[in-house]
């Protein structure tokens, strides 16, 4: 079980990091999302894996470790805020700069088709 778990965490980390190293905003956002899954699972597992531990007092003899759970719970919510911020930043960058590159180069013909103009419904 433990080996399977860390294998999944490893795969998630690998996928997340690879996507974070891409040159456009959207893959980076996808990568960050995958990476935050990996991080959350990693943190969560620091309380060790319990299959049938109780989370509620009085329901069982053996309990899971509640502390990592509480930390990860807020991490999930904050992670959402972070991803939202990055996504909006990416959109704003595209709106202001006219492209969605993050590799620092000025692209030769970046999205010439879509000029940043005021949209209409």
């Amino acid at each position: 079980m433990e080996a399977l778990y860390v294998f999944c965490v490893g795969i998630l980390t690998f996928s997340g990091i690879f996507l974070c190293l891409r040159g456009r905003t959207f893959p980076v956002v996808l990568g960050l999302t995958l990476l935050s899954y990996a991080v959350n699972l990693f943190l969560f597992s620091s309380g060790r894996l319990r299959l049938d531990g109780a989370a509620i007092l009085g329901t069982s003899e053996s309990y899971t470790d509640p502390l990592p759970q509480a930390l990860v719970l807020t991490a999930i919510v904050i992670g959402f805020a972070m991803i939202a911020f990055v996504v909006i930043l990416a959109m704003r960058a595209r709106a202001d700069l006219g492209n969605d590159f993050v590799d620092g180069r000025e692209p030769p013909d970046a999205d010439q088709a879509i000029k940043p103009t005021r949209g209409k419904v």
């Binding site: 079980m1 433990e2 399977l4 778990y5 294998f7 999944c8 965490v9 490893g10 795969i11 998630l12 980390t13 690998f14 996928s15 997340g16 990091i17 690879f18 996507l19 190293l21 891409r22 040159g23 456009r24 959207f26 893959p27 980076v28 956002v29 999302t33 995958l34 899954y37 959350n40 597992s45 620091s46 894996l49 049938d52 109780a54 989370a55 509620i56 509640p66 502390l67 509480a70 719970l73 999930i76 919510v77 904050i78 992670g79 959402f80 805020a81 991803i83 939202a84 911020f85 996504v87 909006i88 930043l89 959109m91 595209r94 709106a95 590799d103 620092g104 879509i114 949209g119 419904v121």
Partner: protein, 929 residues
Amino acid sequence: MSLFWIPVLLLIGVFVPLITERFGRTACAFFTMLAPALALTQIAGLLPEVLSGEVLTESLAWIPAVGLTLSMRLDGLGMMFSLLILGIGLLIILYARYYLSEKDAMGRFYAYLILFMTAMLSIVLSNNLLQLWMAWEVTSISSFLLISYWSSKTDSRKGARMALTVTGAGGLALLAGLLIIADIVGSYDLATVLASGDVIREHAMYPVALILVLLGAFTKSAQFPFHFWLPHAMAAPTPVSAYLHSATMVKAGIFLLARMYPVLSGTELWFLTVSLTGLATLLLGAYVALFKHDLKGLLAYSTISHLGLITLLLGMDTKLAAVAAVFHIMNHAIFKASLFMAAGIIDHESGSRDMRKLNGLWRYMPYTATLAMVAAASMAGVPLLNGFLSKEMFFAETLHQVALGSLSWMIPVLATLGGIFSVAYSLRFIHDVFFNGEPIDIPKTPHEPPRYMKIPIEILVTMCLLVGIFPSFMIGSLLQAASSTVLDGQLPEYSLSVWHGFNLPLLMSAIAMAGGLLVYAYRGRLYSFQAQFRETDAKLVFEGVIQAIVRQATAFHEWMANGSLQRYVALLLLLTLVMTASPLMELNSAAGHLPHQPVNGIEITAAILLCISALATVILHRQRMVALITLSVVGLIVSITFARFSAPDLALTQLAVEVVTVILLMLALFFLPQKTKNESSPRRVVRDLGIAAVCGGVIATINYAIITRPFDSISEFFLANSKTGGGGTNVVNVILVDFRGFDTLGEITVLGIAALGIFKLIARMRLAMPSADEKGRAWSEDRHPLILAMISQSLLPLALLVSVYIFLRGHNMPGGGFIAGLVTSVALIQQYIAHGVDWIKPRIKVDYQVLIASGVLIAALTGAGSWLFDKPFLTSWFDYFDIPWIGKIELASAILFDLGVYLTVVGATLLILANLGKLTTRHRPTVEE
């Protein structure tokens, strides 16, 4: 009065000239002199105690928790320096009153000068290494301000920059050295450091500390090869040159050597480094001084030479040499300050400093000439003047040197050579300027300066004579006190009398006199010899070096920070890998002792699904919509994983967040390109795959190593106290709202700030609206399908009911503010999707920003509420009530806190998503909204 008052008094004095400037120049000078004069009387009042060998110390705890104290110390050495600093400082203030012209901002000048005086005095009175260093840095800065006083001149600016760079760099080295010393000793307290000389000298880090401290001292005191800044600092007004760059600041390095003498000296390394540096500086300065046509240039190199002499003395292996060094510090300050002032008068009254033009000034200003000639004679070491005494002691000490083994005879010979040049340039100063024909087209007709401008020189020259004739009477006890500080109380026998009989040092003096006369007589030949060498301008070399450094730094910076996120991430990951890999290699085996749990088929299936969808996201990431779908699969399985491993709260949260995230990304995708072109080169792909694979492997290994090892959790405490202390059985929720409530408060604040930031980003966003997808298909006309609208509308009350239920039971069962907030948000967002903004707008009139603010406020107020009951912030309260018909229920203050969390989460989520969604409609958010 406390010793602390002395620097404080001067610090107040910094503002005096700025305020009194308006009352006229004389009044300004007068009021400026008050603070130093008061400080001087204070110090002088302590003279008897210090001369009797007492060391006065005082300390004031500043931040005791980290061992920082302000500490003052007045001993013999500090007393001697304080008298020099304050005494000469007062004369300089008087002199500068007449030196500065009416165009110069006198208040600013005096303010800088007093600032410098404060800093310099703080160095010599400091009893703490860090405090000493701070003051040391302030002298560098105030010196910079003073050199660049005439900031419209290029020379001033360049000279100031050079001085600051060299002394500032030395200051950093000094800091490093002092930190090492403090680390060895275990204290910054100077008294402790001075008492642990043996510990320091035997420590392995001693050479490093010594070299660093010497770097600081040598740069400050313009020792070879750092001497080049001093001549360029002569661009400063002459009072500054007289005060900082001959009498006081450049002596700070010497002071440091003397201060640390009991601790750092006594080793071969000290004697060799210090004496050879001093000797080289002595010779170089004396030789170059002869060829300077600029009056101040000559004096600058002469200062370098004399600083070298003092350094050489401190580097000699005899106690008497240290006494001679202390003596010469005093003598040099006195005669050199007066010479600089004389040079300033000559410059002031004749308009030139060029000795090729200035000739025969004796006729025009006989009085000043006499004063200058006496001072110059003292510089040359003529008997019956103070310079002679210390020079004799110096010559005598060179004869006792053994540091160079069989080559030690070179020291007295080279010292005499230095003496010869010293006599020659002093002669040149006298003869070229005051005799030697008539002045050659100088701008003004020279005349005697104002009466009061001469007073400082008169006082100093009188001192030269008095010390030269009655040395023991004048300064015997002060010299004794100062030297005994340097030598840690072990004073050697010495005699301060003028006449020691016919001996070798006297012969050396005679040779120096005769040699100097000869060199000066045949100076023409020396000039033509020297003219063969091309003069290098230190300023050009320095600027070149600085520019080269800047170019290198810029190139490095551009390589590092080229604006590419890919490079930053890659560099960051590689660094992390290097730093995590080495401890991992020391770990024998990743597997720990905990028994592995069995795996069943469902778990394997889920794991496979997770891995496949994660990899699919990677492989298909260029087709963005598809990648988003596979990503959501990953999120779902993560949520299931939490449920599987006994974390229902996490599963619920993850599920709700997953929905919100996917909606968010889909909305974003509407505005972003639908596909990513394949832009990465194969090499880049391989590199990234490599980095990602190694990182994944390392993370998995660490994770494996963690979860297969047993550990002691602090959670026992939470489990034991959750019900009794927090009043809830859902430990996770109790941790969030009670045990770690302060963290949660911070977290919802961050969430709110992020949402507001996003709102501001959206508000000014101007994006093109694609009218069709990438294949040219128009978006569906059926914007709000009727079935979806009906179903979601009827679901809304149910969803809200569920969220209320989850919220209320959160304290005891899985649920709570976070989850309930997310569920509510999802329900409301569904209404936006199904009905559109037009439909929602009149129905939900909630300002989400207000929602966030009230959420954070409620949570914070709940926490603050416990103050009313004299409890610490965020102490929760709960009790059980019997309500008729309903039964026994529990009321806890934590539920109010959770309400704050709930409101913040709803507000933040909807502020983000609703506004992003509005971008697609005519209800674009604006900044004003």
